[in-house]
Symmetry: C2
Subunit: 241 residues, 2 copies
DNA sequence: CGCAAAAACTTGTATATACAACCAAGATCA
DNA sequence: TGATCTTGGTTGTATATACAAGTTTTTGCG
């Protein structure tokens, strides 16, 4: 089977919703109607409805029908976004400046986070991400050389470390913490802050199949950057499976 | 049917995993094995496996089998946590101090967020949440009086506003932003900060069926509070449906 | 022994069917 | 009119079956 039938039905329904043919909270075809339209069994039509419901696209009520959920429900705070994509999606231009790409002895905290020995060599990169001409984020990243031996040879003017790493080492886990800090003078300098202002620091540790891959500190000025997220629950009365 | 059969199978499997009988990455019974053990059809056993997979508890590979995923994968940044629970779960004591509970004319920004008119009356509460004896978070909350007319009569020494609201008005959506700010002197005072330090401010807007319910500003010192999240992907090679 | 083919097992997709649970609207009856 | 019952439509659960597709193990042949 080239592509599964239930997936075709999902695609169709998603399209209807995206082009606005089926507005929010409007009723969508029932299981039986879809089954007939697509010449499939009810169970197959049901699966399409089911999966769209699990994705928060629809909500269903027993005895009543299936409906289009509020549309805004997609993004998630935990979505691992590429900052380049994020900037582009705002319609701004993205540029990265590589400040350092070296090998250095592992600080104790980094060693613990990456499962290395203290003072063992570790790769380190320091990059400033620019939105238009303003520095938006300072990225300090430690990379496990046992897992990514070629890291130090990359050209990070072409590709962000995050994107490169996710291509080379399939991500299995990511761990985040978000903190508010006052940046040190070094960070202030690279973010072009004349005086220290509150910054968001996102610490991101990523794991591949064989263990910790990298530890990144992503620091952004509070005045220029925020994290946003949106949660959407099914409207009252909707069933949750 | 008292409780669905597929749910019983899920419960059984979750128990096995929780008590450690089925360790991480160990194989779990196949669809056919479960079907026989529980005297159900393969499709019913399959559903249990399927849903546990969607929840990230298991991962499956066609032709190979189903396996227990890494256990740590539960929490989410976007989880709407009750701060009292959060503190209790750290083994500390929680206490709330109500500073204000009044009605006041709606500021323009709040009016926009809650769908009210400028200067229309709005409920406002100001609460400090303590972990042991230290202030951990200052909660400033505006509540839509059209939706929650009894808000102003509650005893928030007994119940957090968030918990009260979620009991009274079923949540349908929540919207968050996370920022780093330098607090004003008023906030510093209530968080017992001798001099301003970087703070995390979580802005949370919640919606019920009939529209925006409340707008809360949750401010915590960066030195005492962080947001953490963990994402867990299926191990390499696992299928994603 | 080494290699390839076959078999066995696993998950993935799809169908047809049956009944349960729930809801809304219409029909019926007092 | 007003309350109750019935009926049809919808989703929810469960079964038995069939075949496809992928992996691992076994078998058998050269």
């Amino acid at each position: 089977m080239a592509v599964a039938k239930f997936a075709e039905i999902k695609d169709f329904m998603l399209t209807q919703i995206e082009i606005g043919a089926w507005p929010e909270h409007s009723r969508v075809p029932s299981e039986n109607e879809l089954a007939e339209q697509f010449s499939v069994s009810r169970m197959t039509a049901r699966r399409a409805l089911q999966e769209l419901t699990e994705q928060g696209i629809l909500y269903r009520t027993q005895g009543v029908g299936s409906f289009v959920a509020a549309l805004k429900s997609q993004s998630s705070l935990l979505e691992i976004r590429n900052i380049a994509d994020e900037i582009h999606s705002r319609g701004h231009s993205y540029r990265a400046q590589l400040l350092q790409l070296t090998e250095l002895p592992c600080p104790a905290t980094v060693a613990a986070a990456l499962g290395l020995k203290h003072n063992e060599q570790v790769y380190f990169s320091l990059i400033v991400h620019f939105e238009d001409s303003h520095p938006l984020q300072l990225e300090a990243r430690y990379v496990n050389p046992r897992q990514i031996p070629e890291y130090i040879q990359q050209d990070f003017a072409q590709i962000t470390p995050h994107l490169y790493l996710s291509q080379v080492a399939p991500l299995t886990e990511a761990e985040h913490t978000v903190e508010a800090i006052l940046p040190d003078s070094f960070t202030c300098q690279h973010l072009q802050l004349k005086k220290p202002e509150a910054c968001l620091r996102l610490t991101r540790r990523t794991f591949s199949r064989d263990g910790a891959v990298s530890l990144a500190y992503l620091t952004s000025p509070g005045s220029r950057y925020r994290l946003g997220g949106h949660l959407n629950f099914a409207p009252a009365g909707a069933t949750r499976s």
